[in-house]
Protein backbone atom coordinates (compact mmCIF):
# COMPACT_ATOMS: atom_id res chain seq x y z
CA UNK A 1 0.00 0.00 0.00
CA UNK A 2 2.77 2.40 0.95
CA UNK A 3 4.92 1.52 -2.03
CA UNK A 4 1.90 1.95 -4.25
CA UNK A 5 0.97 5.30 -2.76
CA UNK A 6 4.51 6.71 -2.95
CA UNK A 7 4.85 5.53 -6.56
CA UNK A 8 1.58 7.22 -7.44
CA UNK A 9 2.54 10.46 -5.70
CA UNK A 10 6.01 10.56 -7.25
CA UNK A 11 4.50 9.81 -10.66
CA UNK A 12 1.93 12.54 -10.27
CA UNK A 13 4.55 15.10 -9.24
CA UNK A 14 6.77 14.27 -12.20
CA UNK A 15 3.77 14.46 -14.48
CA UNK A 16 2.78 17.89 -13.16
CA UNK A 17 6.30 19.29 -13.54
CA UNK A 18 6.77 17.67 -16.94
CA UNK A 19 3.45 18.96 -18.22
CA UNK A 20 4.18 22.47 -16.96
CA UNK A 21 7.54 22.47 -18.70
CA UNK A 22 6.07 20.97 -21.83
CA UNK A 23 3.32 23.54 -22.03
CA UNK A 24 5.07 26.71 -20.90
CA UNK A 25 8.86 26.29 -20.80
CA UNK A 26 9.74 24.31 -23.90
CA UNK A 27 9.97 26.33 -27.11
CA UNK A 28 7.49 25.71 -29.95
CA UNK A 29 8.77 23.39 -32.64
CA UNK A 30 10.07 24.78 -35.94
CA UNK A 31 7.43 23.32 -38.27
CA UNK A 32 4.61 22.23 -36.11
CA UNK A 33 4.57 25.18 -33.74
CA UNK A 34 2.51 24.86 -30.58
CA UNK A 35 0.75 21.69 -31.75
CA UNK A 36 3.97 19.81 -31.15
CA UNK A 37 3.33 20.17 -27.41
CA UNK A 38 0.90 17.26 -27.68
CA UNK A 39 4.00 15.13 -28.05
CA UNK A 40 4.86 15.55 -24.37
CA UNK A 41 1.91 13.39 -23.38
CA UNK A 42 1.55 11.44 -26.60
CA UNK A 43 4.97 9.84 -26.82
CA UNK A 44 5.11 8.91 -23.11
CA UNK A 45 1.67 7.25 -23.44
CA UNK A 46 2.96 5.25 -26.38
CA UNK A 47 6.17 4.18 -24.65
CA UNK A 48 4.37 3.16 -21.50
CA UNK A 49 1.57 1.32 -23.26
CA UNK A 50 4.19 -0.73 -25.11
CA UNK A 51 6.18 -1.26 -21.93
CA UNK A 52 3.12 -2.44 -20.00
CA UNK A 53 2.13 -4.81 -22.81
CA UNK A 54 5.64 -6.20 -22.58
CA UNK A 55 5.18 -6.65 -18.83
CA UNK A 56 1.89 -8.42 -19.53
CA UNK A 57 3.66 -10.73 -21.94
CA UNK A 58 6.23 -11.57 -19.28
CA UNK A 59 3.50 -12.15 -16.69
CA UNK A 60 1.65 -14.40 -19.13
CA UNK A 61 4.69 -16.60 -19.60
CA UNK A 62 5.29 -16.67 -15.83
CA UNK A 63 1.64 -17.52 -15.26
CA UNK A 64 1.67 -20.50 -17.62
CA UNK A 65 5.08 -21.62 -16.41
CA UNK A 66 4.35 -21.54 -12.70
CA UNK A 67 0.57 -21.88 -12.60
CA UNK A 68 0.56 -19.38 -9.73
CA UNK A 69 -2.55 -17.15 -9.71
CA UNK A 70 -0.54 -14.08 -8.57
CA UNK A 71 0.91 -13.76 -12.06
CA UNK A 72 -2.57 -13.69 -13.49
CA UNK A 73 -3.49 -10.84 -11.11
CA UNK A 74 -0.53 -8.85 -12.37
CA UNK A 75 -1.33 -9.76 -15.95
CA UNK A 76 -4.81 -8.28 -15.78
CA UNK A 77 -3.37 -5.17 -14.09
CA UNK A 78 -0.80 -4.65 -16.82
CA UNK A 79 -3.21 -5.28 -19.68
CA UNK A 80 -5.90 -3.03 -18.28
CA UNK A 81 -3.60 -0.05 -17.62
CA UNK A 82 -1.95 -0.53 -21.01
CA UNK A 83 -5.34 -0.58 -22.73
CA UNK A 84 -6.26 2.74 -21.05
CA UNK A 85 -2.98 4.33 -22.20
CA UNK A 86 -3.45 2.80 -25.62
CA UNK A 87 -6.92 4.35 -25.94
CA UNK A 88 -5.47 7.72 -24.88
CA UNK A 89 -2.75 7.29 -27.44
CA UNK A 90 -5.31 6.94 -30.20
CA UNK A 91 -7.25 10.03 -29.13
CA UNK A 92 -4.11 12.14 -28.82
CA UNK A 93 -2.83 10.83 -32.13
CA UNK A 94 -6.09 11.66 -33.78
CA UNK A 95 -6.07 15.23 -32.44
CA UNK A 96 -2.48 15.62 -33.56
CA UNK A 97 -3.46 14.32 -36.98
CA UNK A 98 -6.28 16.81 -37.26
CA UNK A 99 -3.92 19.66 -36.38
CA UNK A 100 -1.05 18.67 -38.65
CA UNK A 101 -2.55 16.70 -41.53
CA UNK A 102 -6.03 18.20 -41.38
CA UNK A 103 -7.76 14.84 -40.87
CA UNK A 104 -8.79 13.00 -37.72
CA UNK A 105 -7.56 9.71 -39.01
CA UNK A 106 -4.70 8.89 -41.30
CA UNK A 107 -3.66 5.33 -42.07
CA UNK A 108 -0.33 6.10 -40.54
CA UNK A 109 1.81 3.16 -39.44
CA UNK A 110 1.90 3.86 -35.75
CA UNK A 111 -1.67 5.08 -35.44
CA UNK A 112 -3.00 2.04 -37.28
CA UNK A 113 -0.80 -0.34 -35.33
CA UNK A 114 -1.99 1.12 -32.06
CA UNK A 115 -5.62 0.70 -33.11
CA UNK A 116 -5.07 -2.96 -33.91
CA UNK A 117 -3.13 -3.34 -30.67
CA UNK A 118 -6.02 -1.87 -28.70
CA UNK A 119 -8.46 -4.29 -30.32
CA UNK A 120 -6.15 -7.23 -29.65
CA UNK A 121 -5.76 -6.54 -25.95
CA UNK A 122 -9.36 -5.45 -25.45
CA UNK A 123 -10.04 -8.94 -26.80
CA UNK A 124 -7.91 -10.40 -24.01
CA UNK A 125 -10.01 -8.58 -21.40
CA UNK A 126 -13.24 -9.71 -23.10
CA UNK A 127 -12.17 -13.34 -23.24
CA UNK A 128 -11.23 -13.09 -19.58
CA UNK A 129 -14.70 -11.94 -18.62
CA UNK A 130 -16.31 -14.77 -20.53
CA UNK A 131 -14.06 -17.57 -19.24
CA UNK A 132 -14.95 -19.77 -16.28
CA UNK A 133 -12.86 -19.41 -13.12
CA UNK A 134 -10.88 -22.62 -13.71
CA UNK A 135 -9.77 -21.53 -17.14
CA UNK A 136 -9.51 -17.78 -16.77
CA UNK A 137 -5.82 -17.53 -15.95
CA UNK A 138 -4.69 -19.91 -18.65
CA UNK A 139 -6.84 -18.38 -21.35
CA UNK A 140 -5.79 -14.83 -20.48
CA UNK A 141 -2.15 -15.84 -20.68
CA UNK A 142 -2.64 -17.63 -23.99
CA UNK A 143 -4.48 -14.68 -25.53
CA UNK A 144 -1.89 -12.21 -24.23
CA UNK A 145 0.99 -14.16 -25.75
CA UNK A 146 -0.79 -14.59 -29.06
CA UNK A 147 -1.67 -10.87 -29.19
CA UNK A 148 1.78 -9.68 -28.19
CA UNK A 149 3.50 -11.75 -30.86
CA UNK A 150 1.19 -10.12 -33.41
CA UNK A 151 2.25 -6.52 -32.69
CA UNK A 152 5.54 -6.46 -34.66
CA UNK A 153 3.88 -8.32 -37.52
CA UNK A 154 1.09 -5.75 -37.67
CA UNK A 155 3.63 -2.94 -37.51
CA UNK A 156 5.65 -4.22 -40.43
CA UNK A 157 2.70 -5.08 -42.60
CA UNK A 158 1.09 -1.69 -42.09
CA UNK A 159 4.43 -0.06 -42.81
CA UNK A 160 4.79 -1.89 -46.10
CA UNK A 161 1.16 -1.33 -46.90
CA UNK A 162 1.53 2.41 -46.61
CA UNK A 163 5.06 3.66 -46.30
CA UNK A 164 4.75 7.40 -46.51
CA UNK A 165 5.36 8.65 -43.08
CA UNK A 166 7.79 10.66 -41.06
CA UNK A 167 10.73 8.82 -39.61
CA UNK A 168 10.90 8.45 -35.87
CA UNK A 169 12.73 11.38 -34.33
CA UNK A 170 15.04 10.32 -31.56
CA UNK A 171 15.38 12.59 -28.50
CA UNK A 172 19.05 13.31 -29.33
CA UNK A 173 18.19 15.37 -32.38
CA UNK A 174 15.83 17.73 -30.62
CA UNK A 175 16.31 20.65 -28.29
CA UNK A 176 17.22 19.66 -24.68
CA UNK A 177 14.40 21.87 -23.49
CA UNK A 178 12.11 19.46 -25.28
CA UNK A 179 13.80 16.28 -24.04
CA UNK A 180 13.41 17.06 -20.34
CA UNK A 181 9.60 17.40 -20.20
CA UNK A 182 9.31 14.34 -22.42
CA UNK A 183 11.39 12.25 -20.04
CA UNK A 184 9.70 13.62 -16.93
CA UNK A 185 6.29 12.75 -18.30
CA UNK A 186 7.45 9.34 -19.45
CA UNK A 187 8.76 8.43 -16.02
CA UNK A 188 5.74 10.02 -14.37
CA UNK A 189 3.28 7.93 -16.37
CA UNK A 190 5.42 4.86 -15.81
CA UNK A 191 5.35 5.26 -12.03
CA UNK A 192 1.64 6.00 -12.06
CA UNK A 193 1.04 3.04 -14.36
CA UNK A 194 2.97 0.68 -12.12
CA UNK A 195 1.04 1.93 -9.08
CA UNK A 196 -2.23 1.28 -10.93
CA UNK A 197 -1.01 -2.12 -12.07
CA UNK A 198 -0.35 -3.04 -8.45
CA UNK A 199 -3.68 -1.66 -7.29
CA UNK A 200 -5.54 -3.53 -10.01
CA UNK A 201 -3.66 -6.74 -9.18
CA UNK A 202 -4.64 -6.32 -5.54
CA UNK A 203 -8.28 -5.95 -6.53
CA UNK A 204 -8.08 -9.11 -8.62
CA UNK A 205 -6.49 -10.94 -5.73
CA UNK A 206 -9.24 -9.75 -3.38
CA UNK A 207 -11.85 -10.98 -5.87
CA UNK A 208 -10.18 -14.35 -6.03
CA UNK A 209 -10.08 -14.56 -2.25
CA UNK A 210 -13.73 -13.63 -2.03
CA UNK A 211 -14.58 -16.55 -4.29
CA UNK A 212 -12.53 -18.94 -2.19
CA UNK A 213 -14.78 -20.45 0.40
CA UNK A 214 -12.90 -21.89 3.37
CA UNK A 215 -12.38 -25.63 3.36
CA UNK A 216 -15.31 -27.27 5.16
CA UNK A 217 -14.43 -29.00 8.40
CA UNK A 218 -13.62 -32.68 8.23
CA UNK A 219 -16.34 -35.18 9.04
CA UNK A 220 -15.82 -38.44 10.90
CA UNK A 221 -15.48 -41.51 8.73
CA UNK A 222 -17.42 -44.61 9.65
CA UNK A 223 -15.49 -47.84 8.99
CA UNK A 224 -17.31 -51.14 8.52
CA UNK A 225 -15.94 -54.54 7.56
CA UNK A 226 -17.90 -57.67 6.66
CA UNK A 227 -14.90 -59.84 6.00
Amino acid sequence: MNVRRSLAIAGLLLLVVGTYMGLFVAPPERHMGEVQRIMYVHVPSAWNAMLLYTFAFGFAIASLWSGKPEWDDRLVGAVEVAVVLNALLLVQGSIWGRATWGVWWDWDVRLTTSLVMLLLFAGVLTLRRMASAERRAQWSAVATIVAFVDVPLVYYCVRWWRSLHQIQSSPETVDPAMVIPLRLNAIGILLLGVAWLMARAAIEKARRRRDEAPLPSRVIVKETAHA
Binding site: T126, M130, V149, L153
Partner: protein, 225 residues
Amino acid sequence: MRVVWSILAKDLLLEWRERARTLSVVLFAVVTLLLFSFALGPDVEALRAGTPGFLVLALLLSSTLALNESFRIEREDRALEGLLMRPVGSMAMFYAKALANALLLTLLAPVVVGLAVVLYSLEVGPPALAGLVGCWALGAAGLAAPGTLYAAMTSRLKTQDVALPILLFPLVVPVLLGSVKAMDLVLFGDAMNQLQSWVSLLLAFDVIYWAVCGVLFRYAVEEGE
Protein backbone atom coordinates in the same frame (compact mmCIF):
# COMPACT_ATOMS: atom_id res chain seq x y z
CA MET B 1 2.86 -38.17 -36.82
CA ARG B 2 0.66 -41.22 -37.09
CA VAL B 3 -1.53 -39.80 -34.38
CA VAL B 4 -1.83 -36.48 -36.21
CA TRP B 5 -2.83 -38.39 -39.30
CA SER B 6 -5.53 -40.46 -37.61
CA ILE B 7 -7.19 -37.42 -36.00
CA LEU B 8 -6.91 -35.56 -39.29
CA ALA B 9 -8.40 -38.51 -41.16
CA LYS B 10 -11.27 -38.59 -38.67
CA ASP B 11 -11.93 -34.87 -39.19
CA LEU B 12 -11.86 -35.13 -42.95
CA LEU B 13 -14.10 -38.19 -42.92
CA LEU B 14 -16.62 -36.41 -40.70
CA GLU B 15 -16.40 -33.34 -42.91
CA TRP B 16 -17.21 -35.57 -45.88
CA ARG B 17 -20.03 -37.38 -44.11
CA GLU B 18 -21.62 -34.09 -43.17
CA ARG B 19 -20.92 -32.48 -46.50
CA ALA B 20 -24.19 -30.58 -46.31
CA ARG B 21 -22.63 -28.52 -43.51
CA THR B 22 -19.34 -28.18 -45.34
CA LEU B 23 -21.23 -27.09 -48.40
CA SER B 24 -22.94 -24.38 -46.39
CA VAL B 25 -19.52 -22.85 -45.66
CA VAL B 26 -18.85 -22.79 -49.42
CA LEU B 27 -22.24 -21.23 -50.08
CA PHE B 28 -21.59 -18.64 -47.40
CA ALA B 29 -18.32 -17.63 -49.09
CA VAL B 30 -20.10 -17.36 -52.44
CA VAL B 31 -22.93 -15.26 -51.01
CA THR B 32 -20.40 -12.95 -49.35
CA LEU B 33 -18.65 -12.41 -52.65
CA LEU B 34 -21.96 -11.60 -54.31
CA LEU B 35 -22.93 -9.14 -51.60
CA PHE B 36 -19.66 -7.26 -51.92
CA SER B 37 -20.27 -6.91 -55.62
CA PHE B 38 -23.77 -5.52 -55.07
CA ALA B 39 -22.52 -3.15 -52.39
CA LEU B 40 -20.01 -1.65 -54.80
CA GLY B 41 -22.43 -1.21 -57.66
CA PRO B 42 -22.19 -2.43 -61.21
CA ASP B 43 -18.99 -0.61 -62.16
CA VAL B 44 -16.92 -3.51 -63.52
CA GLU B 45 -13.65 -1.64 -63.32
CA ALA B 46 -14.10 -0.83 -59.63
CA LEU B 47 -15.22 -4.40 -58.93
CA ARG B 48 -12.21 -5.79 -60.71
CA ALA B 49 -9.87 -3.53 -58.74
CA GLY B 50 -11.47 -4.70 -55.51
CA THR B 51 -11.24 -8.41 -56.30
CA PRO B 52 -8.35 -9.27 -53.95
CA GLY B 53 -10.12 -7.60 -51.04
CA PHE B 54 -13.43 -9.33 -51.74
CA LEU B 55 -11.73 -12.70 -52.02
CA VAL B 56 -9.85 -12.37 -48.74
CA LEU B 57 -12.89 -11.04 -46.89
CA ALA B 58 -14.96 -13.95 -48.17
CA LEU B 59 -12.26 -16.27 -46.83
CA LEU B 60 -12.09 -14.46 -43.51
CA LEU B 61 -15.85 -14.43 -42.92
CA SER B 62 -16.34 -18.07 -43.85
CA SER B 63 -13.38 -19.12 -41.72
CA THR B 64 -15.20 -18.44 -38.46
CA LEU B 65 -18.06 -20.67 -39.60
CA ALA B 66 -15.66 -23.47 -40.48
CA LEU B 67 -13.69 -23.09 -37.25
CA ASN B 68 -16.74 -23.09 -35.00
CA GLU B 69 -18.04 -26.09 -36.90
CA SER B 70 -14.80 -28.00 -36.46
CA PHE B 71 -15.10 -27.72 -32.69
CA ARG B 72 -18.83 -28.34 -32.59
CA ILE B 73 -18.17 -32.00 -33.42
CA GLU B 74 -15.63 -32.15 -30.62
CA ARG B 75 -17.99 -30.58 -28.11
CA GLU B 76 -21.17 -32.48 -28.91
CA ASP B 77 -20.35 -35.55 -26.84
CA ARG B 78 -17.25 -33.96 -25.28
CA ALA B 79 -15.16 -36.01 -27.66
CA LEU B 80 -12.24 -33.64 -27.22
CA GLU B 81 -12.00 -34.80 -23.65
CA GLY B 82 -11.90 -38.37 -24.90
CA LEU B 83 -8.96 -37.46 -27.13
CA LEU B 84 -7.24 -35.84 -24.15
CA MET B 85 -7.58 -39.13 -22.28
CA ARG B 86 -5.63 -40.96 -24.93
CA PRO B 87 -1.84 -40.68 -24.88
CA VAL B 88 -2.06 -38.32 -27.83
CA GLY B 89 -0.46 -35.09 -26.70
CA SER B 90 -2.16 -31.78 -27.16
CA MET B 91 0.37 -30.71 -29.79
CA ALA B 92 -0.58 -33.57 -32.07
CA MET B 93 -4.23 -32.70 -31.51
CA PHE B 94 -3.59 -29.10 -32.43
CA TYR B 95 -1.73 -29.90 -35.63
CA ALA B 96 -4.39 -32.36 -36.71
CA LYS B 97 -7.26 -29.92 -36.13
CA ALA B 98 -5.38 -26.96 -37.62
CA LEU B 99 -4.41 -28.95 -40.71
CA ALA B 100 -7.99 -30.06 -41.20
CA ASN B 101 -9.17 -26.46 -40.96
CA ALA B 102 -6.44 -25.16 -43.26
CA LEU B 103 -7.30 -27.84 -45.82
CA LEU B 104 -11.00 -27.12 -45.69
CA LEU B 105 -10.45 -23.37 -46.11
CA THR B 106 -8.02 -23.98 -48.97
CA LEU B 107 -10.61 -26.13 -50.71
CA LEU B 108 -12.87 -23.08 -50.91
CA ALA B 109 -10.34 -21.45 -53.25
CA PRO B 110 -11.27 -23.11 -56.55
CA VAL B 111 -14.96 -22.29 -56.09
CA VAL B 112 -14.62 -18.73 -54.86
CA VAL B 113 -11.69 -17.71 -57.06
CA GLY B 114 -13.40 -19.30 -60.05
CA LEU B 115 -16.56 -17.38 -59.34
CA ALA B 116 -14.63 -14.13 -59.01
CA VAL B 117 -12.99 -14.70 -62.40
CA VAL B 118 -16.43 -15.05 -63.97
CA LEU B 119 -18.18 -12.26 -62.05
CA TYR B 120 -15.52 -9.62 -62.51
CA SER B 121 -14.43 -10.81 -65.98
CA LEU B 122 -10.84 -11.14 -64.89
CA GLU B 123 -8.41 -12.02 -67.63
CA VAL B 124 -6.09 -14.44 -65.96
CA GLY B 125 -3.92 -17.22 -67.29
CA PRO B 126 -3.10 -20.43 -65.47
CA PRO B 127 0.01 -18.95 -63.73
CA ALA B 128 -2.01 -16.08 -62.26
CA LEU B 129 -4.74 -18.49 -61.16
CA ALA B 130 -2.16 -20.67 -59.49
CA GLY B 131 -0.75 -17.57 -57.83
CA LEU B 132 -4.19 -16.57 -56.51
CA VAL B 133 -4.83 -20.03 -55.12
CA GLY B 134 -1.35 -20.02 -53.60
CA CYS B 135 -1.98 -16.70 -51.82
CA TRP B 136 -5.34 -18.04 -50.68
CA ALA B 137 -3.70 -21.16 -49.28
CA LEU B 138 -1.10 -19.14 -47.39
CA GLY B 139 -3.85 -16.95 -45.99
CA ALA B 140 -5.95 -19.99 -45.06
CA ALA B 141 -3.00 -21.47 -43.20
CA GLY B 142 -2.51 -18.19 -41.36
CA LEU B 143 -6.17 -18.16 -40.30
CA ALA B 144 -6.24 -21.81 -39.34
CA ALA B 145 -3.48 -21.71 -36.70
CA PRO B 146 -4.72 -18.97 -34.35
CA GLY B 147 -8.29 -19.79 -35.41
CA THR B 148 -8.00 -23.36 -34.18
CA LEU B 149 -6.46 -22.22 -30.90
CA TYR B 150 -9.16 -19.63 -30.26
CA ALA B 151 -12.02 -21.83 -31.45
CA ALA B 152 -10.92 -24.48 -28.95
CA MET B 153 -11.46 -21.88 -26.22
CA THR B 154 -14.54 -20.08 -27.51
CA SER B 155 -16.36 -23.32 -28.33
CA ARG B 156 -16.90 -23.66 -24.57
CA LEU B 157 -18.64 -20.30 -24.38
CA LYS B 158 -22.30 -19.44 -24.88
CA THR B 159 -21.13 -16.40 -26.82
CA GLN B 160 -18.95 -18.37 -29.21
CA ASP B 161 -20.43 -16.85 -32.36
CA VAL B 162 -19.33 -13.37 -31.36
CA ALA B 163 -16.28 -14.29 -29.35
CA LEU B 164 -14.33 -15.96 -32.13
CA PRO B 165 -14.47 -13.10 -34.66
CA ILE B 166 -13.67 -10.36 -32.15
CA LEU B 167 -10.61 -12.27 -31.02
CA LEU B 168 -9.51 -13.56 -34.38
CA PHE B 169 -10.10 -10.66 -36.77
CA PRO B 170 -7.72 -8.09 -35.24
CA LEU B 171 -5.11 -10.80 -34.92
CA VAL B 172 -5.13 -11.70 -38.58
CA VAL B 173 -4.71 -8.16 -39.90
CA PRO B 174 -1.27 -9.14 -41.26
CA VAL B 175 -2.83 -12.14 -43.03
CA LEU B 176 -5.53 -9.95 -44.51
CA LEU B 177 -3.12 -7.26 -45.71
CA GLY B 178 -0.55 -9.78 -46.88
CA SER B 179 -2.89 -11.86 -48.96
CA VAL B 180 -4.80 -8.89 -50.38
CA LYS B 181 -1.60 -7.21 -51.51
CA ALA B 182 -0.11 -10.43 -52.81
CA MET B 183 -3.27 -11.23 -54.81
CA ASP B 184 -3.33 -7.69 -56.08
CA LEU B 185 0.22 -8.00 -57.38
CA VAL B 186 -0.54 -11.39 -58.94
CA LEU B 187 -3.62 -10.01 -60.70
CA PHE B 188 -2.52 -6.57 -61.81
CA GLY B 189 1.21 -6.92 -62.29
CA ASP B 190 4.15 -6.56 -60.02
CA ALA B 191 6.13 -3.64 -61.38
CA MET B 192 8.35 -3.11 -58.35
CA ASN B 193 8.91 -6.76 -57.46
CA GLN B 194 7.11 -6.52 -54.14
CA LEU B 195 5.35 -9.85 -54.30
CA GLN B 196 8.19 -11.63 -52.60
CA SER B 197 8.10 -9.45 -49.50
CA TRP B 198 4.32 -9.92 -49.05
CA VAL B 199 4.62 -13.63 -49.52
CA SER B 200 7.41 -13.75 -46.98
CA LEU B 201 5.28 -11.76 -44.54
CA LEU B 202 2.53 -14.36 -44.94
CA LEU B 203 5.02 -17.16 -44.55
CA ALA B 204 6.48 -15.55 -41.45
CA PHE B 205 3.01 -15.23 -39.91
CA ASP B 206 2.23 -18.86 -40.76
CA VAL B 207 5.49 -20.21 -39.34
CA ILE B 208 5.31 -18.14 -36.14
CA TYR B 209 1.69 -18.95 -35.36
CA TRP B 210 1.86 -22.63 -36.29
CA ALA B 211 4.70 -22.90 -33.80
CA VAL B 212 3.34 -20.68 -30.99
CA CYS B 213 -0.22 -22.01 -31.10
CA GLY B 214 1.02 -25.59 -31.10
CA VAL B 215 2.77 -24.94 -27.80
CA LEU B 216 -0.13 -22.98 -26.30
CA PHE B 217 -2.93 -25.35 -27.31
CA ARG B 218 -2.44 -27.38 -24.17
CA TYR B 219 -3.47 -24.43 -22.02
CA ALA B 220 -6.53 -23.84 -24.17
CA VAL B 221 -7.95 -27.33 -23.72
CA GLU B 222 -6.75 -28.54 -20.32
CA GLU B 223 -8.58 -27.47 -17.22
CA GLY B 224 -6.58 -25.31 -14.83
CA GLU B 225 -6.99 -24.90 -11.12
